[in-house]
């Protein structure tokens, strides 16, 4: 027989050996987990602060006060001559291009010569904001002089929120992408919410547990893990090539993203339905309600917060998704705001992608500003989801 090691007598009845080493382990584990959280948070902090640092300046835009000579020749033939030669490179070509339109709207401007506040060129804007730019030293000297005369001003960038994309960075805005996102997501929800919720109700409440429903279930769960780009291919093949939905439109984007979010909504709705206590169903049946009355009147109201939460999260998912849109032509240059779901549209995430690939500083800064807006929308959506969850779970507190 093995000889037992003799143990020292304990000092008091409550002494436990190895207590210290055990508590050291738990202490270490606790601090390790705190460290990992700190690590993750610091990445988030670095990302957000970087985006903020780059993006905040996009919310201001440089304006420049220069003399404008609006002659008939400038209006009809060459608007560039309205600006003095020295200043031509400093003002936005978008403004110059709009000059004839401006004169058409207010004919009194014709044959006047006065100092006007004009949108500055993006390189000037970058120079004023202290970022790298391609201005020549001669131009810089002119700007410095103008600045000394208080003829250069940073104003709130209203263009960013009122215009679509543009080839002139200082005139590029986010509005058409915002509008496109709203329309696309509207189509997405119109498609995936009713279909998803009804599928889930059928599977959870009506379908008998059979081989067929099991196969459907497995397929839905697999569908949830299909890479989004494949949904883009599907959208291209089915919606554009077979059905003939217009390319780049909010309709085709919404349908494609709808297919993508469908399994998420189905799965979250089923979870919400499953969390409704069976006692509620029994109570309904015992009162002679049929299945539809029972589901509609008793189960759905209880499951609704869960369904809403799942839908909002899938909506946030759809807003942020880019890859399926690549294949259906939504990631492209769209200067005009769409007004119909069949118009060519871009969405926020696609606009970010387009701008991110541009070399000019003004586009880089707009990319970050757009990211900030997108993140803001996400945060708001998630907060709504959390609010719904906490509010209704309190109201429907049920054992």
């Amino acid at each position: 027989m093995k000889k037992r090691r003799r143990r020292l007598p304990t000092k008091h009845p409550f002494e436990i050996r190895q207590l210290k080493s055990r508590s050291v382990k738990s202490y270490l584990f606790k601090w390790l987990s705190i460290l990992t959280i700190f690590f993750a948070l610091s990445f988030l902090f670095i990302f957000v602060s970087n985006v903020l640092y780059r993006g905040v300046s996009a919310f201001n835009q440089t304006y420049i006060q220069v003399p404008v000579d609006i002659t008939q020749y400038a209006v009809t033939t060459n608007p560039r001559v309205a600006i003095q030669r020295d200043h031509r490179k400093l003002v936005s070509r978008a403004w110059v291009r709009n000059l004839p339109q401006m004169v058409k709207e207010t004919p009194t401007l014709l044959n006047t010569r006065e100092e006007m506040w004009i949108l500055a060129d993006d390189e000037v804007d970058q120079y004023i904001k202290g970022k790298s730019n391609k201005l020549t030293s001669k131009d810089r000297a002119i700007i410095d002089k103008l600045k000394a005369q208080n003829k250069i001003d940073l104003r709130f960038n209203i263009i960013f929120f009122t215009q679509g994309d543009s080839k002139m960075p200082e005139y590029a805005g986010f509005l058409s992408a915002i509008k496109g996102t709203v329309m696309t997501v509207f189509v997405t929800m119109m498609v995936s919410f009713p279909i998803g919720v009804m599928t889930a109700i059928y599977l959870e409440e009506f379908a008998q547990d059979s081989r067929v429903t099991q196969i459907i279930e497995i397929n839905i769960n697999n569908l949830a893990s299909v890479p989004p780009i494949l949904f883009g291919l599907l959208g291209l093949a089915v919606f554009i090539n077979v059905i003939g939905v217009p390319r780049s439109s909010a309709l085709v984007g919404g349908l494609t993203l709808g297919l993508m979010t469908l399994p998420i909504i189905i799965v979250s709705t089923r979870t919400a339905l499953r969390s409704v206590p069976n006692a509620i169903r029994e109570a309904g049946f015992a009162l002679g309600l049929n299945k539809f009355q029972m589901v509609w009147g008793n189960v759905l109201p209880l499951a609704m917060p869960g369904i809403m939460t799942g839908s909002i999260i899938s909506l946030a998912h759809a807003i942020g998704e880019t890859s399926p849109l690549l294949l259906i032509g939504m990631i492209t240059f769209i200067p005009d705001s769409p007004s119909l779901v069949t118009d060519a549209t871009t969405v926020m995430s696609a606009q970010i992608y387009t701008w991110a690939s541009m070399p000019q500083g003004a586009y880089i800064e707009r990319t970050s500003a757009a990211i900030l807006i997108l993140l803001g929308v996400m945060v708001i959506l998630n907060m709504i989801a959390i609010m719904i969850r906490s509010r209704f779970s309190k109201r429907y507190n049920y054992e």
Partner: protein, 259 residues
Amino acid sequence: MNNRIKASVRDLNLWYDEGAKQILYSIDMDIYAHQVTALIGASGCGKSSLLRCFNRMNELINGCKVRGEIVVDGKNIYDKDVSEVAVRTKIGMVFQKPNPFPKSIYDNIAHAPKIHGRVKRGLMCDKLVEESLRRVSLWEDVKEKLKEMGTSLSGGEQQRLCIARAIALKPDILLMDEPTSALDPISTQHIEEAIVELKKSYTIIMVTHNLQQAKRIADRVAFFHKGDLIEYNTSHEIFTHPQDKRTQEFIKDKYNQNG
């Protein structure tokens, strides 16, 4: 004592799992009108399953099979031309755990009668709600807060609300599956008082684990053992002169245990 037969069970057999597991073996018993009939027996003896045969709730379970008849007022509820919805409106049920709908107290009661077209919104509906709540002596406690959630009431009040909800449909028979097992003694007393009141208007069949309760409020008691109906007699006979040895043992054990 009124001895009119309200319902009779004829040669009733029940299987679960597609006939693999037999739960009830050839049950024959008569239920008398305006009496409280208590079903007692050890756990798993089939008393709750029998209760659920009365309103065809067993049909909700996959692989459940019923053979035999339950004749209520001269009609077998398992006949092909009888729908389970009609059966369940005529034969109400109260469950072990209070399960009010997550609706207001008012809507808890008015929901089913509205759906069945018994009442429309308005005065008649208000009256039905008041009457149902009065019958379970809950009206005085909740008349000020009918708009509050039914789930905000205490456990005992919730159970009385569930009884009120069941009787709002004016059923003939009221089934109760251990209606007080989840409640404290005071709430239990309230429910028992309500049951004694209710039997004037309804026929009540209840499953109970509590033999004292059966003795207090039941007129007739049926003792089940492993799916068989062993003994069925008036409450007095069962508790004073049980005929079968198994009944004697069960009552001796259980009664002392509960006491």
